[in-house]
Symmetry: C2
Amino acid sequence: MTQRRLAEVAAKVGVSEATVSRVLNGKPGVSDATRSAVLTALDVLGYERPTQLRGERARLVGLVLPELQNPIFPAFADVVGNALAQRGFTPVLCTRTAGGVTEAEYLELLLEQHVSGIVFAGGLYAQKDASHGHYQQMMSRKLPAVLVNAAIDDLAFPRVSCDDAVAVEQAYGHLLSLGHRRIGAVLGPPDHVPSLRKLEAITKQGGADVEHAMFSLEGGQAAATKLVQRGVTAIICASDPLALGAIRAVRRAGLDVPKDISIIGYDDSAFMTCTDPPLTTVRQPIEAMGRAAVELLANQISGNAVAPDELLFEPELVVRASSAPVR
Amino acid sequence: MTQRRLAEVAAKVGVSEATVSRVLNGKPGVSDATRSAVLTALDVLGYERPTQLRGERARLVGLVLPELQNPIFPAFADVVGNALAQRGFTPVLCTRTAGGVTEAEYLELLLEQHVSGIVFAGGLYAQKDASHGHYQQMMSRKLPAVLVNAAIDDLAFPRVSCDDAVAVEQAYGHLLSLGHRRIGAVLGPPDHVPSLRKLEAITKQGGADVEHAMFSLEGGQAAATKLVQRGVTAIICASDPLALGAIRAVRRAGLDVPKDISIIGYDDSAFMTCTDPPLTTVRQPIEAMGRAAVELLANQISGNAVAPDELLFEPELVVRASSAPVR
DNA sequence: CAAGCGAGCGCAAGAACTTGCGTACACTTG
DNA sequence: CAAGTGTACGCAAGTTCTTGCGCTCGCTTG
């Protein structure tokens, strides 16, 4: 098996091996003409261009998101991307598309690309029933990682979360102060940890009529329809799209938001001031959370041990026009 | 400059260079235990594993987007991501963050990662005054690429676009039929090709009072404020966020949408049914466009020559409640 | 329990790639 | 037009990686 890459290419172009070597490594001392001739010959001969990443490697950081339908995820990607870029990292954004690439496959891919670390948001780690084997793999390789928003308990990564209990307190308290007593809630899937935390907080606050739904406008509409039929006067939703779906459900039932039923969202994603009615929602401080996540990650990457703790951020109730005193 | 990859790894694992070399090349004669020990050491030391050892060669495709604030881009990313995944490609999403990583740097990065091809959407190629050197580099390397939505003329890549002229016709015609005669338009930056195309179409239709703006809600609001002061009765906007900004501008002026002023958006991004009022907008067929872009790219990647033509897709006017007969 | 066998590994030769240095040639400068 | 200057490139020595060969050791088999 005679490889002789350099020699073959050199012969083809009519230069010395040394020159080819210099081109391959981006060294100076080669004219542009010769350089491009060599590169062309490489392509013609079907050689793979070298990953000339010796020395300084591209500092890649993976950013794994579950979807892009919920505007909070693109917004979060923006914050994290900015923060990473400022620290000289290059963000590579991976979104799990329905039925497409799985989280484990993305992880595999990122490992192959030798990312310096990974930020996960809303990933499988948030679902109790999903498979978590690939996280173990990451841990055994000591790959720096940060998880955003409540994860299952047995993952020893640093976490950055929005305090679900406080979020529920704020939403629930707001509704109570408006006189609501028959409160419903539309949460995510039953094994979704942030939803479970919200559920727990709801129980602590006095309980609610809870429905689980897929995280989409349609899921919210379906779940809210049931709640409306059961006579709730207010609905707390676990995301803004769910809330928009709930609003639609209320209207389909011939009722008004907020006169008949108040709706509270969660996230305060973009353009929620422009909805009809403008959505009362619990804002996640994604700017601060994103920056914190990147800082935790950067610390790990530069070799400092970071305790696998959960940093809890305070959400903030943003009262707009989808909540009103009970009828 | 002592690199000694093999030697270093060998020392770390406690085997000979020969053994490491065999592992790196997948040669027989190494026990599974030793093999995986070597691989682990490689990863720990941050060395790149040669191509043969990576499962199957990752078929990466870059997807370069300008921003994620406008929901049309995440939506497009979703479509393209799905289509790529179905064909066995792995989408790597790169978003240019403000002041962060430039398009040229992303390109560099993607080339280093040996992407099979790149889909560009709303990139610098759409701006006449931006630098285009990195595109030349791509062309000279014959890297498969597809550009989405109007590009400057001298780029010989296949293009997938939404027909700006038809979009304007539909919006303009709709407003005319509602009796509007003093029509304004909020377009993107003056060197933005799709905006220029819309401008041309507007002129052909009968002209309008045109303002240029940054692509953001605030930009739309600022531009629309001027138009409102000048007394237009309808505003065509070059994106949905611009239109939302225009709606806000109209209201700040103490007027009503659509009673006093009609607003038409462009894209039909998610949740535009939930806005107040629900937005009349010109829908880009992003599903079809995304799939076409991926098909063009896949063809190039599999070696078929693809004509550097522009595929024009028909937009569709979606009439909701932000447009009404002139007062 | 000895002989046989083969997987696993190191040794070291040699192949492949890199690089310091010198030369040639072009282009400027006195 | 000679001398100066600098870039481009080849030579060959130096470095790193690959591989044929044989040693060792554990397991099997008679």
